[in-house]
């Protein structure tokens, strides 16, 4: 059974008298350890879709199975639990807690699952080492470069060992060199068995992925697997 299965997902916004169909009948299945990119022009519904995948938002209608459970039927607390256990979310603008240092940021998700301080610290240290920031743990976000901040965010996503890692334009605020480094990190994670789903509007970034799904006006326009020749 697929790790993720969405059927007939709609997300509509009522803007005055106008109905905006941000997502309009999405059906998709994603298997464990897939490496998927959602691409499309601005306003095509990529972020809306990823927010629903990440349980930050709910569809207007449709069904969403994650790891065998019915996500659309869950209440606030169950969704929070899913976000904490199953999902690691990475944002374009990093979204770190400004007053906590790198270590504190990475430990934070573990607070919500009642992990003791000692173990929290151990796990966060390990995650930061994994993303190559073993020597920056005491730094505040504003003392770190963009690439380093995004690495902290990745460590925070990984520390809970989630079923899926979601990234919305993870390289959108980074220069091309740093972008490549971040993408190499994603490639490695995929190699280690991590399921990764990312959103981008850059062809170069999408090329890292095995499967590219193109959205247009809230619908899936094209869904294709890349062969080895097309990748990289």
């Amino acid at each position: 059974m697929a790790l993720i299965r969405l059927t007939g997902i709609n997300r509509h916004y009522q803007m005055g008298s106008q109905l905006v169909r941000a997502l309009d009948g999405i059906d998709v299945e994603i298997e464990r350890n897939e490496y998927v990119a959602f691409v499309g022009s601005s306003g095509s519904g990529k972020s809306t879709f990823l927010n629903i995948l990440g349980c930050l938002d709910r569809p207007t209608s449709g069904q969403y199975f994650l790891n065998g459970s019915h996500v659309e039927a869950m209440d606030h607390n169950e969704l929070a639990e899913i976000r904490n256990r199953e999902i690691g979310f990475i944002f374009q603008s990093f979204n770190l807690l400004p007053r906590a240092n790198a270590l504190g940021n990475v430990m934070q998700p573990l607070v919500y699952r009642r992990t003791g301080y000692r173990q929290r610290r151990e796990m966060a240290t390990e995650a930061l080492r994994r993303v190559g920031l073993g020597d920056r743990m005491g730094h505040l976000p504003n003392e770190l470069s963009g690439g380093q901040r995004q690495r902290v965010a990745i460590a925070r996503a990984l520390v809970t060992r989630p079923s899926i890692v979601l990234a919305d334009e993870p390289t959108g605020n980074l220069d091309s060199h740093t972008s490549t480094e971040i993408m190499q990190l994603f490639d490695e994670l995929h190699g280690e068995g991590q399921t990764l789903i990312l959103v981008t509007h850059e062809r170069d970034i999408a090329r890292h992925c095995q499967r590219v799904i193109e959205l247009q006006d809230g619908r899936i326009f094209r869904d294709r697997s890349m062969n080895a020749a097309e990748m990289h």
Partner: protein, 408 residues
């Protein structure tokens, strides 16, 4: 639960100290409220401990009966009187009385002379029983005896203040002085009692009751005071009731007439002081409640600002798995800690203020804070924190994760 509180406290402290000055200004209302409460309580507590102590020197378990003329009667020229007949009646028929004595005060302050020295003082005619009733013991010489009254001896027992004012030797027994032109022999010096709320209890001269009666012209029925002490098993209220009935009957008072006498107990006086102190405490309490209310609103205001400022942070926390109660606890505990911190600062400040005032004003008793006041002050500021923190905290907890993340 414990884990939640611990983690929330950890992050609340971080955020309180991250905005040190702002946090302090936020909690200033609480600081001022608690400080004023503690200052006043510590002063009044010191005061009432002092008053209680003074009262035990007044002779407990005693009653004083005095004539009482209501104002409406007084302006018609009527004067109620308590007479030696009343005394005799009570001696014969009163129940539960250990000792009883008449007191006949001189109608005004009277001049006493000793050599070239003179002073004005309160002179009272009384009997040997006064010693037990008023717990007035001599430190040297003897008290007024029954025979002094029988033979109207011109003898006096005096207090330390008079001895000092007149320049009498430290043992004044057997010295002679003059009271309004008559010679008196000093037979005893009273033990010192000190001040009682501003009245010098040692500025007193006692002479035999019969001597006093002859001095003031031997009118047949002078207006006297009666002071009595109760026997051990007697109940103050019962005795008061019985004496009231006895005197009302003797004075031919009808059912509609008010008493033309009053019966006072030292407890009554104590009650009066307690009432005054209670009223002061209440008024201050009212003012302080308002200031705590204002302080609480200040905290609520800043917490609401803080929630708005941190909307994005709240979104981040929700995105990585924070539930409503996590966010609620974090903001609520922050408000409570802020408020408690204010309470603690206020406590220290208030006690300092109380101590400073009581040491600055001479004769003011030292300040003391009872444990209940500390508990109350901290409990109340914690309560204010919860009361005014709940709204901002609920607002934060109910934010939608996606809206919060999008907030600029």
């Amino acid at each position: 639960m414990f884990y939640l509180i611990l983690e929330s406290t950890r992050s609340a402290l971080t955020s309180i100290f991250a905005h040190g000055l702002r946090s302090f200004l936020t909690t200033l209302g609480i600081v001022i409220g608690v400080a004023s409460v503690i200052a006043v309580v510590s002063l009044t507590q010191g005061m009432s401990a002092f008053i209680d102590e003074s009262f035990s020197s007044l002779g407990s378990n005693s009653l004083t009966i005095e004539s009482y003329t209501p104002f409406s009667e007084a302006i018609r020229g009527a004067r109620a009187r308590l007479t030696p007949d009343d005394l005799e009646l009570i001696e014969r028929r009163g129940e539960g009385i250990a000792s009883i004595t008449p007191i006949l005060p001189a109608s005004r302050m009277t001049q006493i002379r000793y050599g070239a020295q003179s002073t004005f003082s309160q002179i009272m005619g009384t009997t040997y029983a006064y010693r037990d009733v008023a717990q007035a013991y001599v430190q040297s010489g003897r008290f007024i005896a029954t025979s002094d009254n029988q033979t109207r001896r011109r003898v006096a027992v005096i207090g330390e203040t008079i001895r000092d004012d007149l320049g009498l030797p430290s043992n004044p027994v057997n010295e002679y002085f003059e009271i309004s032109g008559e010679w008196f022999k000093v037979i005893g010096l009273l033990e010192t009692k000190g001040d009682f709320v501003g009245f010098d209890q040692d500025d007193i001269a006692l002479i035999p009751y019969a001597t006093m009666r002859s001095l003031i012209g031997n009118r047949y029925q002078p207006d006297i005071q009666i002071q009595l002490s109760l026997s051990d098993e007697a109940n103050v209220e019962d005795v008061k009731r019985q004496l009231t009935a006895l005197l009302r009957n003797a004075h031919d008072l009808g059912p509609g007439d008010g008493n033309d006498f009053t019966i006072r107990t030292p407890e009554q006086l104590l009650d009066t002081f307690d009432t005054i102190i209670g009223t002061v405490t209440l008024v201050v309490g009212g003012i302080v409640s308002i200031s705590l209310l204002v302080g609480g609103i200040g905290i609520m205001n800043i917490m609401l600002v803080s929630v708005t400022e941190r909307t994005r942070e709240i979104g981040i926390c929700k995105a990585i798995g924070a539930k409503r109660h996590h966010i609620l606890a974090q903001f609520l505990i922050e408000a409570v800690l802020l408020s408690l911190l204010g309470g603690l600062i206020g406590l220290a400040l208030g006690f300092g203020l109380g101590a400073a005032i009581s040491s600055a004003i001479e004769s003011f008793p030292p300040a003391s804070i009872p444990f209940w006041a500390i508990t109350l002050a901290l409990g109340f500021s914690g309560f204010v924190g919860i009361l005014f923190g709940i709204l901002p905290a609920a607002k934060a907890a109910n934010l939608d994760p996606i809206d919060a993340l999008r907030y600029e």
